[in-house]
């Protein structure tokens, strides 16, 4: 079970740098961004129509009314008509802007997802450890979702509100530069307040997320340890641990909420000071500088408009921060180097059965300082059946992976059919060399689909022929829906042995020239064991086969046994020969015997 714990791993990269890199990675979004912004600005223009109208109405229509002159209703009506047109135009522009931004951001995120999936599939297997899988899935799903959330709400909000502030500033300056300057100067300290509180808010939100992760961790322990908790009657104890964790989370969330609550009306508080300043300065100057009553009233409205977006900014700042963090994690995956590079001029492999040559191969996993393989050389003639044995950590599985080119050696060369792996056509290599894990993965689909995965172009008849060839027809026919039986998640609907059998048929459909078998350590019931052995024998016939063996019997049956210890090839020969000399194989053999007998 994986629960979405938030990781607090952050790099030093600033938000702006991340956004810049993000835009570079998403050209669809970047292109035409200025057009979108211009539309958003036009869309925001509708918000200044009313203040302007009021100013005009008061100055040109209403003022003087108190001294007996009639209101110029006709003029006000004409102005209102212009206002209506302006509102309609800006409304449509606003709609276009938000639609454009959404469509493009969704397209960009789709592209990013596709690139990310392709990249992750090409990462080396060392980067695909079980402990990292949840993280990789989160990059493609939830991290991109934080961006999608951002573009649905926050992105448009930033665009529109900054456009609004810009336009309102321009209108204010156009009316009266002095009053505008007064308004800006009085509002300026708000920027400092916002910065100070917003930083605390971001930290508080981050801590709240951490407390939430801890709480989920505590709940997950209660759930996954249910059996142990019951067995030891530790329910009250565990309940107490969770209660502490939920309390800590609630406290932190509330602390963050207080910061948010103070930040939210800060724009409004500053507007009343700014409005007051505007009134005082406006009244002090009077009509001397060409200032009118309408302009002062219009200014009051504009000032409120100018600071109105602040409340919304404080609401989206956290969402923005989350989105930037998500983007940073996404980009960091795209920065990870992929597995073995594809050759520039791929060379095809010779027809027929293939020999394998390993020359002075040394291998070390990235970021470690131990050689898993040290100067290993060996030659496997075409068609030979080889078993590789050795203790856990001896390097036998690694050697198998290198021969399949899931990674390249740190030093030395491997060639197949005389062609060096680094220049061999990767598509042909995957067609002609197949790795079968005996703890195989099955998709949540039918048996037919799982077998067909090896060669999607093959027909159901081809698959039936392979099933018959490997002697699995009887078993599959006995299942309720035959080959159309669904195997369940990870193949959970089948036994371990049945999953292995399907994996063998899948390999059979691929009809490879080289077969690398990674044997299972788990036990299988006797009947299936027989079926697997028979299928394996038929599958291996006539192909160069390397079995990474965990079973004594496999080694005993092979043409040749390779013994690895601590990354070094220590013995090479037939089972009988190696038993005869009192070497590492003999000792391994004896240990097996003693562990499996009474």
């Amino acid at each position: 079970m994986s629960v979405g714990f938030t990781s607090s791993v952050e790099t030093d990269e600033g938000a702006v740098a991340t956004i810049r890199r993000g835009l570079a990675a998403a050209p669809v979004l970047r292109n035409g961004l200025w057009v979108t912004f211009a539309l958003a600005a036009l869309g925001s223009a509708g918000r200044v129509v009313v203040p302007i109208l009021i100013q005009q109405a008061i100055d040109k229509g209403i003022v003087g009314q108190s001294s007996g002159q009639p209101v110029d209703v006709e003029l006000v009506a004409r102005l209102a008509a212009i206002g209506v047109v302006a509102v309609l135009i800006s409304g449509v522009a606003f709609r276009q802007a938000s639609y454009r931004l959404s469509v493009r951001s969704e397209r960009a995120l789709y592209d990013l997802r596709e690139r990310l999936i392709g990249h992750i599939h090409r990462l080396s297997l060392a980067d695909h450890g079980e402990e990292r899988r949840g993280g990789l899935v989160a990059r493609v799903t939830s991290d991109i979702e934080t961006l999608a959330q951002f573009f649905q709400w926050g992105g448009m909000s930033w665009m529109r509100n900054s456009a609004l502030m810009l336009i309102v500033s321009i209108v204010m300056l156009a009316y009266d530069p002095l009053l505008a300057s007064v308004a800006f100067v009085v509002a300026l300290p708000l920027a400092l307040v916002l910065r100070a509180v917003q930083r605390r808010l971001v930290v508080a939100h981050g801590e709240a997320r951490e407390r939430n992760g801890e709480m989920l961790g505590a709940v997950a322990e209660v759930v996954s340890g249910a059996a142990s908790i019951r067995a030891y009657q530790a329910g009250d104890h565990m309940g107490g641990i969770v209660r502490d964790a939920t309390d800590r989370k609630a406290r932190q969330q509330i602390r963050a909420a207080w910061y948010g609550a103070f930040l939210f009306p800060s724009g409004e508080v500053f507007s009343v000071f700014t409005v007051s300043a505007v009134v005082v300065v406006g009244v002090w100057r009077g009509s001397a500088g060409g200032l009118t009553a309408g302009a002062v009233v219009g200014f009051i409205f504009l000032t409120y408009r100018f600071l109105e977006p602040i409340a919304e900014f404080t609401e989206i700042i956290d969402q923005t921060q989350t989105a930037v963090a998500g983007l940073r994690r996404v980009l960091s995956v795209l920065d990870m180097p992929v597995g073995p590079p594809a050759p520039e001029t791929p060379e095809s492999l010779p027809d027929g059965s293939l020999a394998i040559d390993v020359e002075a191969v040394t291998f070390r996993y990235p970021n470690t300082d131990v050689d898993v393989l040290r100067d290993v050389s060996l030659a496997i003639p075409a068609g030979q059946q080889v078993a590789m044995v050795g203790a856990t950590g001896s390097g036998k599985s690694t050697l198998g992976r290198l021969i399949a080119r899931f990674a390249d050696p740190t030093a030395g060369n491997i060639s197949i059919g005389g062609v060096d792996l680094t220049i061999a056509d990767p598509f042909e290599l995957r067609r002609r060399l197949v790795v079968v894990s005996q703890e195989p993965f099955l998709f949540d689909d039918t048996i037919l689909a799982n077998i067909g995965f090896a060669r999607p172009e093959k027909s159901a008849d081809d698959i039936a022929a392979v099933i018959a060839d490997l002697g699995a027809t009887e078993w599959i026919d006995a299942l309720e829906d035959g080959v159309h039986t669904r195997v369940g998640e990870r193949g959970d609907g089948l036994s371990a042995g049945e999953r292995q059998l399907i994996a063998l048929v899948r390999a059979g459909l691929a009809d490879p020239d080289v077969l690398i078998l990674d044997e299972a350590t788990s036990s299988v019931d006797a009947l299936t064991e027989v079926r697997i052995a028979r299928a394996l024998e038929r599958l291996a016939a006539g192909r160069t086969t390397i079995a990474i063996a965990h079973r004594l019997s496999t080694a005993a049956r092979a043409d040749r046994v390779l013994v690895l210890a601590d990354g070094v090839l220590v013995e090479d020969g037939h089972h009988d020969e190696l038993i005869a000399v009192n070497g590492p194989y003999r000792r391994l053999h004896d240990a097996w015997i003693s562990a499996t007998s009474l």
Partner: protein
């Protein structure tokens, strides 16, 4: 929900009322300032009339004072609404967890882990998300009522124009919710499918690579991602019109107010101050009005989550199978009589006709092929599951089980051994010694106080098993069940542990064994096949009498690699 934590919500509602009234009052202030300060100053053309400083100060004080009161109202409303919301979420989480620790193992086996964690976690947050906007919504309602009354008192025709807008915005909201929610719901479902696909594809990455299917898989997942995109774009096409409309309707109404206001000023029914303040008040009302629909849109999601929480909280706690365990006769450690177990009524029995008596202090190995019911039998013996028929009796005293997968808390070694009951340091070290774990624990950086990490990640599999074993031994159990516990240990350590168990513990021990070296350490063997006991005796005896047992042991010997 609000009644769970009434205090913060009371503060929040008070703040909301202050906010609403101050909002209406602020338009009074603007009106006063315009009528008494701005207009008189600009009255008589160039040069202007004069206004006393006192009047200006009063006007400014009015604006600032009301503005500050309004802000304080906002702070109270928001902060206490959040406080109440998070406290309610906490209460719900605790209620769910309270149930989780009470329900027996059989209940837990019927529920997916991830689902239960979601109910205690994300569902509680979704449920309470509807709470936070309630005080805000209430202040909006109050504001609308007060300002409508005030508008009508000021000028009836203006009042009529203004209130027409309120239902219009609400109707737009409803229409929008109807036309858009299905697309968002669909997008959410499609996102779920996409996530499942990604998870599966990454899980099977080795297979994908082995068959060179990277491109195919990327394309397959891209199709799923594109469906999410298409649904969202569809929703956005509608939402963007809604957003534009909720912007345009109030703006148009505002223009109408200006026009109508000018007419009313002309006819002498309205002062310029009144005229401006009506428009000002209207502007202040627009934002809350737009947001109220957004707040309501959380309701369905919240209800769904609340239902899921209630399902767990209201489910009666199933009877504890522990309570059904009886006491066997003198000298007997474990006694099962005619025990049967079915996973559910429709399937055949997983275990049937189990009659088993283990003498006090004996070590018995439980052997059988995969799926023969060994773990189920272990659960029945320890009272983790109740038999569907028959009785289980255990010698009095503590009981303990160690599972195949050791379960460790993320706390310290000490907390893991104590596991909720107080154990002295000496007793902890004694238990660790018997579990052959004292040496490595002593070498840990903080010894007993070393934090083992989530699920004990900082320890090896064998070390985790031994800490879990020490937890069991610290209780000096009269009955101890080891469910393939020692399979992660090498045979030599296994032998040391069993030896110490025998010499220091007077317990009846049942060992589930999957390798010969474990069988060799037991006094007796119980052989389980197809849910029935197919043999009970010593190893040599069973080898001779039971063909299937012989077969399985031979399979171990000929083919099975044990530890390496």
């Amino acid at each position: 929900m609000l009644s769970l934590h009434p205090r913060p919500f009371a503060f929040s509602f008070a703040g909301a009322a202050v906010f609403a009234l101050a909002t209406v009052a602020s338009s009074f202030a603007i009106r006063w300032v315009i009528d008494n300060v701005v207009l008189p100053r600009f009255e008589d053309g160039p040069g202007g009339g004069s206004v006393s400083t006192g009047t200006v100060v009063t006007g400014v004080a009015l604006i600032i004072g009301i503005g500050v009161v309004r802000a304080v109202g906002v702070v109270f409303r928001r902060a206490f609404a959040s406080e109440g919301m998070w406290r309610v979420a906490e209460t719900y989480t605790n209620q769910v967890v309270e149930r989780l620790v009470r329900q027996p193992v059989s209940w837990h086996r019927r529920h997916a882990d991830g689902d239960l964690v979601a109910r205690a976690g994300v569902d509680t947050e979704s449920t309470v998300s509807v709470i936070a906007p309630i005080p805000f919504a209430s202040s909006t309602v109050l504001m609308i009522i007060v300002s409508t009354v005030w508008l009508f008192l000021t000028d009836v025709p203006l009042g009529i124009v203004a209130i027409i807008v309120f239902p219009l915005v609400v109707v737009t909201n409803i229409v929008y919710e109807r036309s858009v929610s299905e697309h968002y719901t669909r997008a959410q479902t499609q996102l779920g499918e996409f996530s499942a696909g990604v998870h599966e594809s990454f899980e099977g990455v080795q297979l994908v690579k082995a068959y060179g299917a990277e491109h195919r898989e990327t394309e397959r997942l891209a199709v799923l991602a594109d469906r999410v995109r298409a649904s969202r774009v569809e929703a956005v096409a509608r939402r963007s019109w809604f957003d534009a409309l909720t912007d345009m309707i109030p703006a148009l109404a505002n223009i109408a107010l200006v026009l109508l206001g000018a007419v009313r000023v002309d006819s002498g029914d309205l002062t310029v101050g009144e005229f401006t303040s009506v428009i000002f008040l209207f502007t202040l009302l627009v934002l809350p009005l737009r947001l109220i629909g957004y707040a309501l849109s959380e309701l369905p999601r919240s209800m769904a989550a609340w239902t899921r929480i209630q399902a767990v909280v209201n489910e009666p706690v199933e009877p504890d199978p522990h309570a059904l365990i009886g006491e066997p006769g003198q000298g007997v450690g474990v006694h099962l009589e005619n025990v049967e177990f079915r996973h559910d009524a429709s399937t055949g029995p997983a275990l049937s006709g189990i009659d088993l008596e283990l003498a006090n202090g004996k070590v018995t190995a439980l052997v059988g092929p995969t799926g023969s019911g060994k773990s189920t039998l272990a659960d029945l013996v320890l009272g983790l599951t109740a038999p569907t028929a028959g009785t289980v009796s255990l010698a009095p005293g503590a009981r303990a089980i160690v599972f195949q997968e050791a379960f460790l808390l993320s706390g310290t070694v000490r907390e893991n051994v104590e596991f909720g009951s107080a154990v002295s340091d000496d007793a902890i070290w004694e238990a660790l010694h018997r579990a052959a774990a004292d040496d490595f624990v002593r070498d840990l950086p903080d010894s007993l106080d070393t934090i083992v990490g989530e699920r004990g990640v900082s320890l090896s599999g064998g070390q985790r098993q031994r800490v879990a074993l020490a937890r069991a031994l610290a209780r000096n159990p009269a009955v101890l069940v080891l469910d393939d516990t020692t399979s992660a240990l090498d045979p030599a350590t296994e032998a040391v542990i069993l030896d110490r168990l025998r010499s220091t513990l007077d317990a009846t021990v049942l060992l589930i064994a999957s390798r010969p070296s474990t069988i060799a350490l037991a006094d007796d063997v119980v052989f389980l096949s197809d849910g029935r006991i197919a043999g009970h005796g010593n190893h040599a005896d069973l080898l001779e009498r039971v063909a299937e047992y012989r077969h399985i042991v031979e399979a171990f010997e000929s083919d099975r690699a044990g530890t390496q």
